[in-house]
Symmetry: C2
Subunit: 319 residues, 2 copies
């Protein structure tokens, strides 16, 4: 893949996704020790996360007769809603396979976007078998959450917008919340040759991408639950995303859960946007990690915010 894939995705999705604002505040810059911190507010994207880009990119790239049979995705959150929104707009069916213990609000939001939600029991059901059976029976096309060229290219359109928004020739670091690496890889492709460099950011304990980049081969997370940053917890970088990350990105960055929570509170307080913890890790890195040089861009994403967790974080980090 290369930059032309991202440009092609931009052609397909540009009229159907929001060009999100690049926000900043003197108060945040001061907290970051004087560097300028720019937040690309993907929480204001349709469905609340950048996944609306990848979902539309994937569906718009399908042959019409294939798309007409419908799509299927496995997701308990943001990818589900991104795919559901695109499917509804194209007038095709979307089956979203979700664990039965997913938060009720995520199930409701996905259904509200017109998707058919199929619940499975994590303990007893074989998710992949359920999906494969439905896909085969109905001719559905699987839309993967990150390891798909069209999804990577769709997320990469964020990078094209940054090139428009940043000063000509801007050379700095673009910090990206990283799960499977679709957004990091896409933005890195978009920015290739610009002088700006992507740094993937992960929560402590789930740093598969940082370790993979350091070791030069795909490493896995030891566990897949127990993080408040659930939106960006994946087993390992993808077989498509990792080579792109390894070729184009700087070393991975790691933040603590508390740093992610404080960044979420500071985004509310100073930028007046709502991030979810996993979508706040890049802002946390921009604000709290040493060793970053000069001004930085952080990508922020929203999705479904646990309001009790948010209130507790506000109380923990008073203004």
């Amino acid at each position: 893949m290369n930059r032309s894939d991202v440009l092609a995705a931009q052609e397909r999705i540009g009229a159907h996704v929001r060009k999100t604002p690049l926000l900043s505040s003197p108060a945040l810059d001061a907290l970051a020790g004087g560097r300028r911190v720019l937040l690309k507010a993907e929480c204001l994207q349709h469905t609340g996360s950048f996944k609306a880009r990848g979902g539309w990119s994937a569906l718009s790239a399908l042959a019409p007769e294939v798309r007409a049979r419908g799509v299927i995705a496995f997701s308990s959150g943001n990818h589900a809603q991104g795919v559901a929104r695109a499917a509804a707009a194209f007038g095709v069916s979307a089956v979203i396979v979700m664990p039965s213990d997913a938060p009720a609000v995520k199930i409701a939001n996905t259904r509200a976007l017109g998707a058919e939600v199929v619940l499975y029991d994590r303990a007893t059901d074989d998710r992949d078998a359920i999906g494969a059976h439905m896909a085969e029976a109905r001719g559905l096309t699987l839309v993967k959450p990150f390891d798909d060229p069209m999804v990577i290219a769709g997320q990469g359109t964020i990078g094209l917008e940054l090139l428009d928004e940043l000063p000509e020739g801007w050379q700095g670091e673009v910090l990206v919340p990283c799960g499977g690496g679709g957004m990091s890889a896409g933005i890195a492709l978009a920015l290739e040759g610009s002088g700006a460099r992507v740094r993937p950011v992960e929560p402590a304990g789930f740093d598969d991408t940082a370790r993979s980049l350091a070791g030069g081969k795909i490493e896995r997370n030891a566990r897949l639950s127990g993080s408040i940053c659930d939106a960006i917890i994946t087993p390992a970088p993808g077989v498509l995303t990792f080579p792109i990350l390894y070729r184009l990105c700087g070393p991975g960055l790691i933040v603590s859960d508390d740093q992610a929570l404080e960044a979420m509170v500071l985004a509310f307080r100073h930028l007046r946007v709502v991030l979810e913890p996993g979508g706040a890790v890049a802002l946390a890195a921009a604000l709290f990690l040493p060793g970053l040089a000069g001004d930085v861009v952080a990508i922020g994403s929203g999705g479904n915010v646990d309001e009790a967790l948010f209130a507790a974080a506000q109380a923990k980090f008073p203004g």
Copy 2:
């Protein structure tokens, strides 16, 4: 005043304020009974409120030799920060006269923008005398919060952006949080002849503008404290703003404090932006009031949000 004043303000301020996004969500539309609700997110404006527009508009219109002597404003909140930001950018001094019992965060934010904050005691000091004395001694120019043509024109640039963002020929109602009427009047001027119509929105008990519009003459509020919507509580519509409102706007709308709080929570939950109560009254009207026809635009504004109040509102209106 007329539309050309707003166009002139746009020329002066366009490069220095954010073009704020127009946000929507299927979930909010459903809550509004199926009408489309579009939120112009002025909470994402520099300083968190639309006041950054009026402040820049006013300072940029001063003769350079007048501006160089500095400006003065009376404000405990958003206007203070809008004026302070513009003054700092022009490299001139700003004196902001604030009550000594103003929230510490507002005083700190105003100082962080480089302004000289002069505190007075509401019980014992004569605010106007203090301001007049300083203005005369130092040759400062007073920037009024709403009853100033340049301020009205600056806030009106929101209306010009709406004309770009809405479909050609859109005919609907634009609901605007209304204190002294500067933003309502400015947007009404910008939209004159477009087919769109401004409706000022106020909190119950502080409906001076609604009563003034109904009676055809300026009416005053009985009291000036005791509302959670403190950002939009003023004694009466202005002598400049009222004739514009009376000529161009539809009848005023009134929402309860609880409706404003619930709108604030719903903006967090579904649009992922942070409004203050006074900046949420237009969204509250869009969501909860009967009798509005078709799609509506609501202007939302931020400023300084009381986080304890916010948390209490989230608990009161669970998702």
